[in-house]
Chain length 337, copies 2
DNA sequence: CTGAAAGCGCTAACAT
DNA sequence: ATGTTAGCGCTTTCAG
């Protein structure tokens, strides 16, 4: 039988209200009384029941995190940022994988609401009407991390995906390339897939370069699809001399495809990836890539969520974190960068 | 004001006990009554309060997971295995990072117990008396994943670390190497550090090969330490011709150190890593490595935990999953393998 | 098969 | 500064 607050009260010769006060750090307790209670707690080995507290106070100090796949390097880095800040603010995390499946996402939202989480952190490519519907029935604060909803209704922390892709493409253009390929993410991912593709096209357009469908491949973000796509590009009569890949894994796959054909990177083909996962520094040539601050996105998103949960004033509901390009060895050196 | 079970009862014209029964799938409800209740639930958009349920039933269908660092590829893969099985058995996961810090581990155990988790899954290098002490005060089932305690008191799911290191070293010996180096993990990690080192030494001993301290480097599991350690080895008067690294990252660092000096892998130096993280297939040469089934370890550990939580009979409290060596391109081909 | 009622362990007014 | 009391929303005997 576990020790309850009532046992402590009896042991200390005070009421349970007083015990509750000292446990919760309420200053309205005489120091001597506090000490008596503390001693009793110590002696009995009392451990407050957070479930009972949650029921009575209607706050669980727990937040739900819905993530597509924790085993991906991108999301696990993000999750670490979330967790660190959560810990800092005394929250715990219920972590759920959605595999990008709408149905599962909705079901998870529901389960988390049943568990009375104080807030929700959502990662996932696409936000649909269904999500809003589920969320609306329980009005708990929700923040999107590394994504946004189309209408900007929900608070979100992410980077400017369009600009990032534009910058990467432009970097390749500046290096004098005329035939620049792209390996995109799935088009079902509005931001990581579609928007990056748009950024690529716009950069070509602005530079007066022709858009060539042959230089576009649809990838899955995975290594294998980069390998495959680049292999196909190389079979073209006029293969690309530079590639922008929407993920680092695909970029590395692309590099290997080039190398496997006996060519070299960056001499024959320059490659820029996206995200800057740890992997990018652990391959040769080391990968030049758009750095997306995953950890920070998670951390800032969690911090934002704490503000909503505490009813603090927040000025910007949508925060765009800065991105930049880290030039390493898969692109040639240029003086001005 | 959220809808409660009481509201549903009134709407359906039954008692709250009956509503509780249908919500919990209790068969002792007349089909017609069940339907009435279901309709009311639907109409009101009732969502059961899991916190209240937890308080009343003393079961939260939540398990605590203490992991050193979710952003590491090794642990995030493990976490995915845990989560998948947890979902399958209707449990949710509270995920916490310990950074291998004893103090934080103990504090997390405490927090999770306060939250009344039904079980605990623990990952971390070292299990000390303190852990048992904390755990003992609340008697909830605990399973270790990818580690074991020294005395085998706690249920655990892992591989035979000694044998794995022995096998890897032996594989190198069979290839005719006389000077085989090892890049170990930190010795503060009993299994991943110390035991693997022991396995290495035993393999040398059994093969009648001399043990040379110069061929031992203490790494941190990280890429950089592999790079560094191998760089040092290569400066030796008589450098090693083969290396076993206690992690894939270090193995890849070692490969790059060799390559950076203008030598090649596996021609000049053969390398075997440990774990088989996704990374191993995304480098050139692709890494030969001891495969540790991370996902399975997580999955089996979670499955085992569910058995304890349901008071099911379990035969083996310690389960050793099989390991094997995957030969790729960082070792030379051999006919018999 | 259904209902009534007693908690689960704690917080939060409200008194004193 | 401390105690009293009424819930929080649900499960679970125990009756009927």
């Amino acid at each position: 039988m576990p020790i309850t607050i009532y046992d402590v009260a009896r042991e200390a010769g005070v009421s349970m209200a007083t015990v509750s006060r000292v446990v919760n750090g309420n200053p309205n307790v005489k120091p001597l009384t506090r000490k008596k209670v503390m001693t009793a707690i110590e002696r009995l080995g009392y451990r407050p029941n957070a479930v009972a507290r949650g029921l009575a106070s209607k706050r669980t100090t727990t937040v739900g995190v819905i993530i597509p796949d924790i085993s991906s390097q991108f999301f696990s880095e993000l999750a670490r940022g979330i967790e660190d800040i959560a810990t800092m603010y005394k929250y715990n995390i219920i972590l759920c994988n959605s595999d990008h499946r709408l149905e599962k996402e909705l079901q998870l939202i529901n389960t988390l609401l049943e568990k009375q989480v104080d807030g929700l952190l959502f990662m996932g490519a696409e936000i649909k009407e269904d999500h809003f519907h589920s969320l609306k029935t329980a009005s708990i604060p929700t923040v999107l991390a590394a994504t946004r909803d189309p209408e900007g209704k929900l608070p979100a922390v992410t980077i400017d995906h369009f600009q990032a892709a534009y910058d990467a493409t432009q970097a390749l253009i500046r290096r004098g390339h005329k035939r620049i390929a792209i390996i995109t993410g799935p088009m079902s991912y509005p931001l990581e897939g579609l928007v990056r593709f748009e950024g690529y096209k716009k950069a070509l357009l602005d530079a007066g370069l022709p858009y060539d469908e042959q230089l576009v491949a649809n990838g899955s973000f995975r290594y294998e699809s980069g390998l495959q796509s680049m292999g196909d590009f190389m079979k073209l009569a006029e293969p690309p001399t530079a590639v922008f890949a929407a993920s680092d894994e695909m970029a590395i796959g692309a590099i290997h495809a080039v190398q496997d054909l006996g060519h070299s990177v960056p001499e024959d083909v320059e490659v820029i990836g996206h995200d800057n996962v740890r992997l990018a520094e652990m391959v040769r040539p080391r990968l030049s890539t758009v750095v997306q601050p995953m950890y920070d996105i998670g951390a800032v998103a969690m911090r934002l969520l704490t503000k909503y949960m505490n009813n603090e004033q927040v000025e910007d509901h949508i925060v765009l974190l800065p991105h930049r390009i880290e030039y390493r060895q898969s692109t040639k050196e240029m003086a001005e960068e």
